[in-house]
């Protein structure tokens, strides 16, 4: 490797330091860059900058955790809001036709449970509720299409079952994604704390 190429490579890596680091770590990245100016041995500088890039990349990934926490809180709030709105609808519906009110109320309670479980026990617990409700929605839809065509509010029930399939699928997908991302972040932190990387 020629000196010119080595210097250009080092300069390129040096620039990447500040780009890779999250904004909250820009001072640290700049500090690393300044340290490079103190290293006279090119091989040592190269090893140092690679390590710094690794450190900045970890910090960039760590900032993902903040996004994950925000995503979880948003999911908790959204499912909680659906539960609250559903309960309001259920109360009004119960005055018109009690079975429909009961059904919507039950679905709302399931959303409330998912919200609470997500907040307290994490995304896996919410995913379990979503799976259970998906099965119930699918069963309800199948039953509505074949057996209960003449039941009062049958159209409403079919719509609720379809809506349930969509919403619980969404919640299941989001919970699984959140669970996977959280576990990845946790493993990385564990490795960092134990000095495995």
């Amino acid at each position: 490797m020629s000196d010119g190429f080595g210097r250009r490579l080092l300069a390129m890596l040096e620039r990447q330091l500040v780009r890779v680091a999250p904004p909250s770590r820009s001072q640290w990245a700049e500090g690393m860059r300044r340290e490079l100016e103190e290293i006279e041995n090119p091989g040592e500088a190269f090893r140092f900058v690679l390590g710094c890039l690794w450190a900045c990349s970890l910090e960039r990934l760590r900032s993902v955790e903040l996004v994950l926490r925000l995503a979880k809180r948003t999911m908790v709030a959204a499912t909680g809001l659906i539960a609250a709105l559903g309960l309001m609808v259920a109360i009004h519906m119960a005055q018109v036709y009690a079975p429909s009110g009961l059904l919507i109320g039950t679905i709302s309670i399931a959303f409330g449970a998912a919200s609470l479980l997500l907040a307290r026990r994490g995304p896996n617990a919410a995913a379990a509720v979503a799976v259970a409700m998906l099965v119930l929605s699918a069963a309800g839809l199948a039953a509505g299409l074949t057996q209960f065509r003449e039941v009062q509010h049958a159209t409403l029930y079919r719509a609720l079952a379809l809506e349930g399939l969509a919403m619980w699928s969404l919640l299941l997908a989001a919970s699984l994604a959140l669970s996977w991302a959280t576990r990845s972040a946790w493993l990385r932190n564990l490795a960092l704390e134990r000095g495995w990387m």
């Binding site: 690393m32 490079l36 100016e37 103190e38 000095g195 990387m197």
Partner: protein, 104 residues
């Protein structure tokens, strides 16, 4: 949720290095070289210590004339107390000595 304080051999080595001259400002490269720690291991540790209020960081003028300021680090009072609580301050001989800046 606050993270638990760090506990690893590397952390103890870093704390021990700072405790040799608790008032002295240290630089990343010097710490890395003297402790034999890769920068990819050292800097995450320093950042975590800083996040937990155990380490303070500031820009300090370089001792070499004409050079730009360098990012320097030293333990806070809480950091020194934490180091003592881990026993690292009692065994300075376990850590390499520094020929860096004298305490300011």
């Amino acid at each position: 949720m606050p993270r638990p304080p760090l506990s690893s051999k590397q952390t103890d080595a870093v704390l021990g290095a700072f405790m040799l001259h608790p008032q002295a400002w240290r630089h990343g490269y010097d710490l890395s070289r003297d402790l034999g720690l890769k920068s990819g291991t050292l800097y995450p540790l320093l950042m975590r210590l800083s996040d937990q209020g155990l380490l303070e960081a500031e820009w300090r003028p370089s001792v070499r004339p004409g050079r730009p300021p360098r990012h320097a680090y030293r333990l806070t009072a809480a950091g020194a107390a934490y180091a003592r609580s881990r026993g690292v301050a009692d065994v300075p001989g376990n850590y390499p000595s520094f020929n860096d800046e004298v305490p300011t």
